[in-house]
């Protein structure tokens, strides 16, 4: 198992994950974006200034979203491949598809779930442009803290394993501890001050946030499972499993 082999599989798994996320987007997210855009449109008609020239057409935005998801999938596929290669011999999982699933699961929590709890996704028409820099800083800070927490938990796992604690005990302690630390971080970080406009129905907001989280779950699950399958078919991985038996 060489690094270029892993990298190619990471890119392939990322492209597949991005494509599946794009299908999810077209079926479940775009209808909600369209609803929100209608509300935004109605708001603009209420004002005196005329309609502004669109920089990119609606079709362009939908196609752009598909392309963006493909690129984001490939980006996280590359990152997954490198982290997998670097940590493969140290992760507390026996099989390569388990390692891939563990890393992708951590990726989902760190890059999607933690930020989504603090700053839930919003449809167009929600969000104060003036606070976007502040929200971006909170978002990125959560990701950095999440990575630090995951690295700390995994290295603590090895230390505890050295002291003879069994896998179930270690995972219970470390997952529980990580959730506790993450909860404290989430409470301490400042929240977004943005108010949601009155013309956005609560149901639309709720459905959009669920759909967004679902899309991210599809992206990361597809990435972790596809990469795991592709990597498990490599000869070296099978050798290792034979040795493990």
């Amino acid at each position: 198992m060489t690094f270029p082999q892993l990298l190619r599989r990471g890119v392939a798994a990322g492209a597949i994950a991005g494509a599946l996320a794009a299908v999810y987007l077209l079926l479940l997210v775009e209808p909600l974006i369209e609803k929100a855009l209608v509300i935004e449109e109605a708001r603009e008609h209420g004002h005196s200034h005329g309609h502004e020239e669109e920089l990119v057409s609606r079709l362009g935005q939908v196609l752009g979203a598909i392309g963006t998801l493909a690129v984001v999938g490939i980006i996280f596929g590359i990152v997954l491949a490198v982290v997998f290669a670097a940590s493969r011999d140290r992760l507390p999982v026996v099989h390569d598809h388990g390692r891939s699933a563990l890393l992708a699961g951590i990726g989902f929590v760190v890059f999607a779930l933690l930020p989504a709890i603090k700053l839930p996704a919003n449809p167009p028409g929600v969000g104060d442009p003036d606070s976007v820099d502040q929200r971006t800083v909170i978002y990125l800070a959560l990701i950095v803290l999440g990575i630090a927490l995951a690295v700390a938990a995994l290295s603590l796992d090895r230390t505890l394993a050295g002291h003879g604690l069994t896998g179930p005990v270690r995972s219970t302690l470390l997952i529980g501890g990580s959730v506790l630390v993450a909860a404290v971080v989430l409470v301490l970080l400042p929240a977004s001050q943005d108010a949601v406009a009155d013309d956005i129905p609560a149901a639309l907001l709720w459905e959009f946030r669920l759909a967004s989280l679902g899309q991210l779950a599809v992206l990361w699950a597809a990435l972790g499972l596809t990469f795991g399958v592709l990597v498990s078919r490599l000869p070296a991985a099978r050798d290792a499993e034979l040795v493990a038996r």
């Binding site: 997210v29 974006i33 990119v56 963006t68 998801l69 493969r88 976007v132 990125l140 967004s212 991210l216």
Partner: protein
């Protein structure tokens, strides 16, 4: 059945350029999903519109 944990998994040698690749990939992710003009300046407007739906769908701070 042998104790599987006791079997060591061989490490994969990761070249230094791989970490550079990760840095470039994460920077690209920042630019397409997060940047609102801080890095790209004027070009951010067009990129923002192209990636607009995906940004909302991915739940990143948009506007």
């Amino acid at each position: 059945m042998a104790n599987a944990v006791a079997v060591s998994t061989p490490a994969v040698r990761v070249p230094a350029w791989a970490w550079l690749l990760v840095a470039v990939a994460l920077f690209a992710w920042y630019v397409i999903s997060q940047d609102n003009g801080a890095v790209l300046g004027a070009a951010a407007g067009f990129l923002h519109e192209v990636t607009h739906d995906a940004r909302h769908a991915l739940g990143v701070p948009c506007h």
